[in-house]
Symmetry: C2
Subunit: 468 residues, 2 copies
Amino acid sequence: MITFYFDKSKDIPLYEQLYTYLKKSIEKNELHPQEKLPSKRKLAQHLKISQTTVETAYMQLLAEGYIKSVPRVGYFVLDNLNFPKKRKNKIKQKIIAKSKNKFKFDFKTNMVDAKNFPYQKFAKIKREIILDKLERNINEIDFFGLFSLREKIADILFAYRGIEAIPEQIVVGSGSEHLISLLVILLGRDNSFLTEDPAYIKNYLLYKEYGAKVSACGLDEKGISMDGLKKSQANIVHITPSHQFPSGIITPVSRRIELLNWANEENNRFIIEDDYDSEFRFSGNPIPALKVLDEYDKVIYMNSFSKSLSPSFRVSFMVLPRKLVKRYRESFSYFSCSVPITTQLSLERFIANNEFEKHLNRMKNIYKTKRDVLIEELEKAFGSNIEILGYDAGLHFLVRFKTDFSENLLIELAKIKLVRVYGLNEFFINKNRYKDEPVLVFGYSHLELDELKEAVKLLKFAWSEINR
Amino acid sequence: MITFYFDKSKDIPLYEQLYTYLKKSIEKNELHPQEKLPSKRKLAQHLKISQTTVETAYMQLLAEGYIKSVPRVGYFVLDNLNFPKKRKNKIKQKIIAKSKNKFKFDFKTNMVDAKNFPYQKFAKIKREIILDKLERNINEIDFFGLFSLREKIADILFAYRGIEAIPEQIVVGSGSEHLISLLVILLGRDNSFLTEDPAYIKNYLLYKEYGAKVSACGLDEKGISMDGLKKSQANIVHITPSHQFPSGIITPVSRRIELLNWANEENNRFIIEDDYDSEFRFSGNPIPALKVLDEYDKVIYMNSFSKSLSPSFRVSFMVLPRKLVKRYRESFSYFSCSVPITTQLSLERFIANNEFEKHLNRMKNIYKTKRDVLIEELEKAFGSNIEILGYDAGLHFLVRFKTDFSENLLIELAKIKLVRVYGLNEFFINKNRYKDEPVLVFGYSHLELDELKEAVKLLKFAWSEINR
């Protein structure tokens, strides 16, 4: 007869203690295959517990397949339960965590200012929409995204970028990871994609990881090289015409026309316009989107709220050409929009309340000040040894150094002072860059004014020898 | 000389009006290629505006590449600007929106109760974390997910599922779309995946769309067929052992051991345990996860908060075997976690405050009542013509009908009464189901008690003839 002592001090029901004991006994082969378990009545008497307690434990073992029931005979331990042997070395191996950023200042791109986000207003909106709207939307996972948010995005696109899009063309997704995975499926893995080089390398890698054919094409002074594009045999090109990343080149209207004409030559050609960062041009108007000229319906426009709000909000969107909308609807109806409904609802209200516009205008001034201070400090520190490039748009700019030092040496010297700067070479996909003077890419959006000054001070120490 | 009238009533700066006028004139070929623009001074005099206004307009045209500057000579319209012709039929074609659900009641699965979500508490938590924590995390996009949330998920896994996982093994992502796309990349598209049949077909389609080789394997009374699995040549199997979807089969421990041994035979074999819905077993304890027995480190465990909180929150997670953690870290370091930081932070606090546990316990009772009422109503209406299957777990169950009517006929008759019911056949990937009596799958979680009663009343009308 099974003997077993209940631990009444524990907060675990008796049936569960009995169940666990029996299960372990079976796993350890103390109760043998085919062994008959005592009847419920007998075991209950023996253990001085109720028959229901025994029954509940037996039912659980039965449901999990540890025992079987033979009607009118009783319960038997199952055969052939050869459990995997416990690993002897099953210690909790420490899996080394990602090493923390050890730099004092890091000029990385794709960050936002953390101090000047309207936290109070955003918290208020979140609270409101959860109380007002979430109940109606708690099962809402439309694979295009929330319609009312797409209406607001259409408004923004018209107001800021001159693009006339209807909400039915707009797809909301969480970041370029998601949108690019959708595009690879929508357009087909058999297409041949082309990205710029240098570029935001992540996009290139995403195409590759998602199983598409992808290559990279060099730039000329107008953006992606038309010769390179034509030689590549690619039929889908992913470009950043408003502000090439990272070079800052603005693709002029003549090249835009060339690109559109190229796309119009074949049915399966498309242009993916990655309009990142276009919100932040500091002088004059923003450069209009290529999509504005898209009379042939060949441009897939893509943007995100990563710069205008925060990269950690993970809200991106794209405008599909009308001919792709139907295909998207047919292929993706079983997908769910990857952005949480609370995020979509609160973003919708943030835009509707004009908070988005206010925030953008405010940040434009803040970022312009940061940029001006950083450029001033760099010019004070390095004078005629540097030249600033692409400073008019976006939350980064380039600095060309007139020195014999290599790009890598500049980076390594800065690291010693705990400042991380990035070489233009780090943005190249094909390592074939023409060896010119070193160029560094400075992202400054997340650093405070005093941090910018302090960082340049450290760089001045680091690079004190460059002027020889 | 350019003649142009400013509209001073409009809220558009003069330079922008001038810029737009000049740009349109170039696009319409009214200003010809190579034509010299008037000097800034002359045009300013002529239009009675400041020279700065003219200069700003010219600078914008220059930046966009409509004109070029020849030093000490002036500005010229660029050559070869052959703009795409405006499409004549560029009407705003109405793209037909997805037809709205026209049913009065829809017994679909994968929904939650909208009425009993703790909106007040959730709103409070959201507000708090935005004010307390967002500033520190606004640029946080760790590709594993927020560490502190992963710690909480590890706690839940241990408490509810008996799984001992460390946060370093856990990856957070937005829904099965995202996790499956990661797995296809992590494991490699050259692997051969296998899903159950019948199944949650979406997962099968996702593997396929993401470019993996995938097939589907029938079930026996213990879950996925071992014979089918072995014949399939697949090396990665995606299963729902705790509660097979949609059949409700609980895979017994003997089959679990067989599966683990199968996985252990080859280095590249893995089991993806999809533990959806395991929270909601209504009698006894939850069925333990297969992962608990995973001594060989071969099980990728996957679950989501779609049922326990809401499908529209888009939070899923997986536990990687230790050997895959390193590979994930190396391959995905440039990815960003697809779940917004506010969602991650608020979920972390929701769990930490015990709100998650409270909500689960509360919903378990609510769902149990709904299930009991629905079963009672169905049995009252159809008596011995039906048999309820798999009613003990999850937010759906199966109803087998003893009738000559086909499954499709039952579905169509219900549609006439504006009730959507789902046939088991709709969950089959290979259309080879043994033609047995009709079986319908009832998801009931989103319907209120009076709706359930009303819906069954309509079904009784719809199916009044089944008993002949």
